[in-house]
Symmetry: C2
Subunit: 216 residues, 2 copies
């Protein structure tokens, strides 16, 4: 994904999202303060990395008790979240689409899945986990009506390339693509291609490497 000049690095954005999730869980458990090395330990990174990430967004804390959890949550949220909530649609309500929708439902996130699209007559016109499922033929109209700015592509891989034009025409701003076909969009549309196979092949590679190293 191309990042803009002067923007915060992608990897820092990922970690901020992860820190916030940990902070929210800690807050729920009644924890009010957390040290950088504790946050680092939970995420398997160094305390230096945590402090560097927070410095990048201008957050500093010199309390002896560590970071104030609530203050840090609010601070990260001001960086990550849009002032208005962003509406998201899922294209493809198979197992993966349903898993994602279910996962987000009731999480109380700023990001909301407000529509789903499919072509299966068994799904179109129904509510799936509380989300209305529309026919892909009505994509542009629904995107406009529901002010959707981001789509998650969880369709069959074969179908993915045929979705590029409708996504462009509907004025979508960001795409998270989980199919096996990388999708390319014109500049101005943010796209993240993420095939789960890659993650698994990566883990398998490092397992193999670690076994080879321990055998020598």
């Amino acid at each position: 994904m191309a990042t803009l000049p002067n923007s915060i690095p992608e990897k820092t954005i990922e970690r901020l999202s992860e820190y916030r999730r940990t902070l929210l869980a800690s807050h729920k458990q009644g924890i009010t303060h957390i040290f950088s090395h504790v946050l680092a330990g939970i995420h398997g990174i160094t305390a230096v990395q945590v402090r560097r990430d927070l410095m990048l967004i201008g957050f500093s804390s010199d309390t002896k008790k560590g970071y104030d959890v609530q203050v840090l949550i609010d601070y990260i949220s001001r960086i990550l979240d849009s002032p208005s909530s962003m509406n998201i649609a899922v294209i493809g309500m198979g197992h993966l689409g349903q898993a994602i929708t279910k996962y987000f439902n009731g999480k109380g996130l700023k990001l909301k899945i407000t529509a789903a699209f499919d072509v299966d007559p068994e799904k179109v016109g129904k509510q799936i986990d509380g989300i209305p499922c529309y026919h892909m033929d009505n994509f542009e109209q629904i995107v406009e009506d529901k002010e959707i700015s981001i789509v998650i592509v969880s369709s069959p891989t074969k179908v993915a390339p045929t979705l590029v034009l409708p996504i462009i025409n509907a004025g979508i701003k960001g795409v998270l693509n989980f199919t096996s076909t990388p999708l390319n969009f014109p500049q101005g549309i943010i796209v993240e291609n993420y095939d789960i196979t890659t993650l698994l092949e990566k883990v398998a590679y490092f397992v193999k490497e670690s076994e080879e190293n321990s055998n020598t």
Copy 2:
């Protein structure tokens, strides 16, 4: 994820996995040769990056027709794949677990999902998409019997921390964790924590940034 000294960088491994997928799809379409800039274009990166990645694994090609697709597939496979196939288990057969299993089934990958685990009596003892589903109580035994080396954690987030000890005790070598709780393992176990929320929050952040930039 900690990488070993002298090993190929994580990001290169990810891209090799992605290149191979594209090459396999090209091969299926009867394409025999591909230029680095074409491969780069498909993946939204530069030709320099593609050539650098392939140089890192010692692959060079100076044919005027571009890379030989079949030769490059074989070359990447020798880097990524273990000589023997690796067996994988999925822990948690909700929508996400089922999506992953279905996705891998019939893909003809070296990586094979050969077992699933759950605690739901509706699932335990049944075949789901051709994969036998066992009770989590029998985890260690089944892992040994079926020579499983990698697990995918797609359980409810709450349950994830309770899986750490069984995973360690069973001698699992690699973990791909999709829950919202990062899991920590002793050195020697490769772990990749990947919460889908992070990907979505990242896309949303860059959409917001790009909107702010175009408004100024």
